[in-house]
Structures are given as structure tokens and as C-alpha cells.
């Protein structure tokens, strides 16, 4: 079985197989023997090839957090089919909320022509004001939020019409 592990925006295709002595992980072209032993209370001993380390691990759904060598890393584990489906959705034509918060002002309406980097709206989260800008030149197809509205992270706030020169 294969899963796509995403760390810092980079995808790593990983396949786990059983061997006569334990488990073997293939990450890309590279494979190595590995083991994970629980020490209780979220603590684990991790072994990858010759490297051994203690780590703290917590998980929730597809997401796993690993504290190793004094750093915490968030890794998303997805089935390859889900990754494929997600890439088809295409966010390039939309301005998404970078964080949960409240919309302060909306400076564009459907039909407006905007330039790449132009301010579309402002929002506030935890007392910080953030401006959301157009990802590319184009026409505003739809505004999906209004001042005062609370939005979750990654919500589509403004949709731009697909660029005429864009393929696919």
C-alpha cells in the first residue's frame, strides 16, 4: 500500500512492506528497514536504517505531528487517489483565506477587472490585519464573502475568471 506523505509542501510517495525481519519503507527511489516502538505517553523510539532517535508523535485523521531533534513537523498522509483528486480542484483562480478570521472590507465586485497583486479584500485574525491580493490578472467571477463575515482557513473568498491564455 502506498501513501503520499506531505512535509513542508513536498510530497513523498511511501510504500511500506513486510520483510522476513520486520518492515521496510520505500520513500521515492530509496528504501530502508524501519521500526517504531512505543514507549508510552506519546513517546516512541524510531529506527530508520542505522539511525535511531526518540520522538513524540500525535495524530488526528490524516495529519501526524512528530517532535524529533527539538523540532516539530506536521505531515499529511493521503492516499494517492485523494491527492490526485485534490490537485484537480485547482486553487489558482481563487483567493483563499490564509487563516480563520473576520472579513473587514471587500474592495472588488463581480465583473471587476483586477491586476495581479491588487488588493481584493482585508481580513482580521487575532488582531492582525491581512490583505488578500489577486493571484493573477483577470476578471472577478464571484465574491464569496462580505464584511463582518467569519471565515475558516482556506475558504474561497474571491473567484477569478480563468485566464483566457491559460491552458487546461
Amino acid at each position: 500500500m502506498k501513501k503520499i506523505l506531505t512535509l513542508n509542501g513536498e510530497q513523498h510517495a511511501c510504500t511500506l512492506t513486510r520483510t522476513s525481519t520486520g518492515l521496510r519503507l520505500q520513500a521515492g527511489e530509496h528504501s530502508f528497514d524501519c521500526a517504531l516502538d512505543t514507549l508510552g505517553d506519546g513517546r516512541y523510539r524510531v529506527r530508520a536504517g542505522d539511525a535511531r532517535r526518540e520522538a513524540l508523535i500525535a495524530q488526528h485523521g490524516d495529519q501526524v505531528w512528530i517532535h524529533l531533534d527539538g523540532r516539530t513537523h506536521a505531515i499529511e498522509r493521503l492516499n494517492p487517489l485523494d491527492v490526485l483528486a485534490a490537485s484537480g480542484r485547482g486553487g489558482a483562480n481563487s483567493a483563499l483565506s490564509p487563516m480563520p478570521g473576520t472579513i473587514l472590507t471587500v474592495q472588488v465586485k463581480a465583473g471587476d477587472t483586477v491586476k495581479s497583486g491588487q488588493v481584493l479584500l482585508t481580513m482580521e485574525s487575532m488582531k492582525l490585519e491581512v490583505t488578500i491580493t489577486a493571484p493573477h490578472d483577470g476578471e472577478v467571477a464571484e465574491v464569496l464573502c462580505a464584511p463582518g463575515q467569519s471565515v475558516p482557513v482556506k475558504a474561497t473568498l474571491v473567484r477569478l475568471a480563468t485566464q483566457p491564455e491559460a491552458t487546461s
Binding site: G42, A58, I75, M99
Partner: protein, 493 residues
């Protein structure tokens, strides 16, 4: 009203500072209550309080900012004092007055002093009139029509500030006259939004300045002392993230000069309780009064670490009418202390606030390590409040030891489920300029690339192993395939 000990204390705050205040108050046998909005869940402070009193408001923040609501709750619970913490209503004279009218003490200075120092322009004029140094400036209210012109006459670069401001909100640096009007408009909007007051003033901006503040304390018997300085120059967008004491920038002579100036300002204002006088310190050793914060500061623990005083205990004593009871000479410092603000934010995404559930929490411990925390495992971190989760405070015999302990403590801090800035803080502490004590408020911007951590080497195999082998689905699938077939490979879907 003075002279009676405090028996029932309401803490009108939340998060780490509420927990911090409750610990001291409870240790003194004071019965404690805390306020909270019904939408809030979890948190450490409610577990430490004897009572949790609901406050009403359209939003959670609005509830904490509602003077009438806090006074009502304090009166109904029978509080004889209210500690406002920092932020929210901590520098609100209307709260101090409203409580006084209800016969309840406010843990802080008099409403008159709060008003004086809360109005940045009045405060500045007060300080100038008493012979303390301030930066060249222009004030809008003096003549609004000529404001832009007078602002430029101060000499670029300038810093625009809201008259009612504080905490860096609404402040803008202007280096180019062409953008002055646009920046004034933005600052005015932010001032109106955050402080309900759009009045502005500008000050000469000192390039590569340091931000040094002095902890002062007064009692109701006319005594004023200082507890030394705190170096707060490690800032992002005017928000402090690392503070230390003593400041690596000050000579003993300069330290005496700046601390005496702070105590002098507090004395002139008839200051009662804990306060902080903030200064801009230039590379040439000149310093200017910036503002006075009439409350406990976020970074007060570093002062506690080197002086051995519990500043909250001192606040409660002074509020009960006691005299400080010690002279300036009795306040000595030992070693070095550093505070790191652990925030729910993602440094790799422009420091946007992060949310989530704390699935696993390990806080640092060890010699010279103190954690002022407001969180617990299982808690949800939302976007309703400031992103500060906890503060890591370390003490060492000298600065080098304090830095080493701070770095180890950061690496020992594990908060899984919500992205935090701990790795970023560790990189700041590891930067040679920080180690040398040679930094200004521009440090984080100037070194943004180095501090981004893009060059940090990952133990990728170990991380992939931890992620894959903790995945039940993956492990079960691998286990269900007999080893002999697995060895043959070719199992694809």
C-alpha cells in the same frame, strides 16, 4: 478603602496571565474568580480559580472589553478587588472608576494616571514639562490642516502613531514623503478600529533603535522604586517576541541614568502599583521616552527571575494599601533572564495565526526554567484571541548560560497539533548577532532570510518512518501481506 487586605479577587483576563495571577493570589489564601465568555473551552486558568463567572458579549473579545459587564460580575460575586492583567481593560480608566464607584479596588494606578499615560500626546507633554527626554514630534490636534506638512518637517524617517495607541497597533514607518498621506489614512483607520480614536501624531524614527523599558513600582505612601530594565528589541511588526534583562546594550552608568529617569517620571505622576516606562535607545546612547504602560507587562517574569520579587504579590500588597517597605538599594539583581513568547502562528507562512487542537503537550523544565502557561493538552486553540499560548522564561548565572538554557528548553517544548514559533525562536537565539547582544528592533527584518530555517537539515528517513509506521492503515496493509509475497514486490493498485 485602603488598609484592608484583599480577600476576594476577580481576575478580569484569560490565558497565561490569568493563570499567573491566580497562582500568586491563591498562595496568599485569597479567594479567586475568573471571567469567561460562554464560547470559550478549556484553558488552564479556569482550573485554578475558585469560581468561573460568565460574561456576556456579542464576541468573546467584546465581553472582555465590556466595562459595565466586568463591574456587574465583580459586584455580584462580591469581589473586593479586580486584577485586569494586561491587554483588554488593563489600561482603561473607566473600569478603574466604575469599580471605585462600586466600592471595589482596581489593581493598578489611579484613573487619572491611566488617562494621562493612555493619551500618548498628554503623556509626552507631561514628560517634556518635567525635563525628561522625548523624540522630536508633530501632533495632529495642534493644527490638523498643517499636520502632514509639520510631520515632514520633523525629518524623515518618521513614525506615525495613534494618540490612543499602544502595543504597536496602527504604527507606520514613513521613509518616503510620497506615501505619507496613504500611511496616515491607514494609521487613522487602525487607530479607530483598535482604540476607537483616530487622532495621530508622528515622531522622528530612530534608525536601528533599541527598545528598553524600566519596571517601576509605587505605593500609596509616595514611595517609588525601579526594578531595573528589560531589553525588548527583538520585535516583529512592533510586537515583542523575546525579552531579556539585563540589557546587553547598557553600561552601568547608562543603566543608572535610564532607570533613574523612569523612576523620576513615575514619581512625578504619583504612580501607584506596577508600571513600565518604555524608551527608545539610539546607537549613540541617547534615549527618548516612548510611553508608559500602566499595568503589568507580558515580560514581567524576567524581572522576577533576576530580582527574586513576585511582582503580582507586590501589586496586591500595594493595592491593599501597604507601603513597599524597602528602599531602592534593597533591590539587587542576579544573573541573566530571557523570556520567549510561544505563539500559535506559522513563521513559514508569514506568521499567520494558527489554530487547531493541542493533541500532545510537553512543557520544558529543568534548572532555571519557568513556564507561564495558559494551555493544557486537549485544548482547542481558536482565532478569537491573541496568539500567545505560553511564555518560556529562563535564568542563568550569565547571558551565555541563559541562552543555552533557553535553547534547550525550546527544543524540549513539544506542542503537537497547533503550529507554533518555537523553532523560529530557537533560530533567533542561535543567530550570532543575538549571541553577541548586537541587535536592534530591525534585527528580525534584516535577518529574515537567515531566520527562515530554509537551510535546516531534516532527518527525512526518520520522519517518514514515524509518519508511516504510526499510520494504522499502512501498517495493517503491510502486515496482511505475507512476507514471501511482499519480498517479490509488484503489489500495486
Amino acid at each position: 478603602m485602603t488598609g484592608a487586605p484583599i480577600r476576594r479577587l476577580l481576575v478580569a483576563n484569560r490565558g497565561e496571565i490569568a493563570a499567573r495571577i491566580l497562582r500568586t493570589a491563591r498562595a496568599q489564601g485569597i479567594e479567586c474568580a475568573i471571567v469567561r465568555h460562554p464560547s470559550e473551552e478549556g484553558g488552564l486558568a479556569p482550573q485554578l480559580a475558585d469560581a468561573v463567572l460568565p460574561i456576556d458579549g456579542a464576541t468573546p473579545v467584546a465581553a472582555y472589553l465590556d466595562v459595565a459587564e466586568i463591574v456587574r460580575v465583580a459586584r455580584e460575586w462580591g469581589a473586593d478587588a479586580v486584577h485586569p492583567g494586561y491587554g483588554f481593560l488593563s489600561e482603561n480608566a473607566r473600569l478603574a472608576r466604575g469599580l471605585a464607584e462600586a466600592g471595589i479596588r482596581f489593581v493598578g494606578p489611579t484613573p487619572e494616571v491611566i488617562e494621562l499615560m493612555g493619551d500618548k500626546i498628554r503623556a509626552r507633554n507631561f514628560v517634556v514639562a518635567r525635563g525628561f527626554p522625548v523624540a522630536p514630534s508633530a501632533i495632529e490636534a495642534d493644527d490638523p490642516d498643517s499636520f502632514a506638512q509639520r510631520a515632514l518637517a520633523v525629518g524623515l524617517p518618521i513614525l506615525i502613531k495613534p494618540a490612543a495607541g499602544g502595543g504597536g497597533k496602527g504604527m507606520r514607518i514613513v521613509r518616503d514623503a510620497a506615501v505619507l498621506d496613504a500611511e496616515l489614512a491607514t494609521a487613522r483607520r487602525e487607530g479607530e478600529r483598535y482604540f476607537g480614536d483616530g487622532r495621530l501624531f508622528v515622531e522622528r524614527y530612530v534608525e536601528r533603535p533599541r527598545h528598553i523599558e524600566v519596571q517601576v513600582f509605587g505605593d500609596s505612601h509616595g514611595n517609588v522604586v525601579h526594578f531595573g530594565e528589560r531589553e525588548c528589541s527583538v520585535q516583529r511588526r512592533f510586537q515583542k517576541i523575546i525579552e531579556e534583562t539585563p540589557s546587553p546594550a547598557l553600561t552601568p552608568e547608562k543603566r543608572t541614568e535610564i532607570c533613574d529617569a523612569a523612576a523620576g517620571i513615575a514619581r512625578a505622576a504619583g504612580y501607584i502599583g506596577a508600571g513600565t516606562v518604555e524608551f527608545i535607545y539610539g546607537a549613540d546612547g541617547e534615549f527618548y521616552f516612548l510611553e508608559m504602560n500602566t499595568r503589568l507587562q507580558v515580560e514581567h517574569p524576567v524581572t522576577e527571575m533576576v530580582t527574586g520579587f513576585d511582582l503580582v504579590a507586590e501589586q496586591l500588597r500595594v493595592c491593599a494599601g501597604e507601603a513597599l517597605g524597602y528602599a531602592q538599594s534593597a533591590i539587587t539583581t542576579q544573573g541573566h533572564s530571557i523570556e520567549l513568547r510561544i505563539c500559535a502562528e506559522d513563521p513559514s507562512q508569514g506568521f499567520v495565526p494558527a489554530t487547531g487542537t493541542i493533541h500532545l503537550l510537553r512543557e520544558a523544565s529543568g534548572p532555571g526554567v519557568r513556564v507561564d502557561s495558559g494551555i493544557h493538552q486537549g485544548q482547542r486553540v481558536g482565532s478569537d484571541f491573541d496568539p500567545l499560548l505560553s511564555k518560556l522564561i529562563v535564568h542563568g548565572r550569565d547571558r551565555r548560560e541563559a541562552i543555552a538554557r533557553a535553547r534547550q528548553a525550546l527544543r524540549d517544548t513539544a506542542l503537537l497539533g497547533v503550529t507554533t514559533n518555537t523553532a523560529y525562536l530557537d533560530r533567533v537565539l542561535g543567530h550570532p548577532q543575538f549571541a553577541a547582544g548586537d541587535y536592534s528592533t530591525a534585527f528580525l527584518d534584516e535577518q529574515a532570510e537567515v531566520l527562515s530555517g530554509k537551510d535546516e537539515v531534516l532527518s527525512l528517513d526518520l520522519l517518514m518512518t514515524a509518519a508511516a509506521l504510526s499510520d494504522r492503515q499502512l501498517v495493517d496493509a503491510a502486515a496482511s501481506v505475507p512476507a514471501i509475497y511482499a519480498a517479490m514486490g509488484g503489489w500495486r493498485n
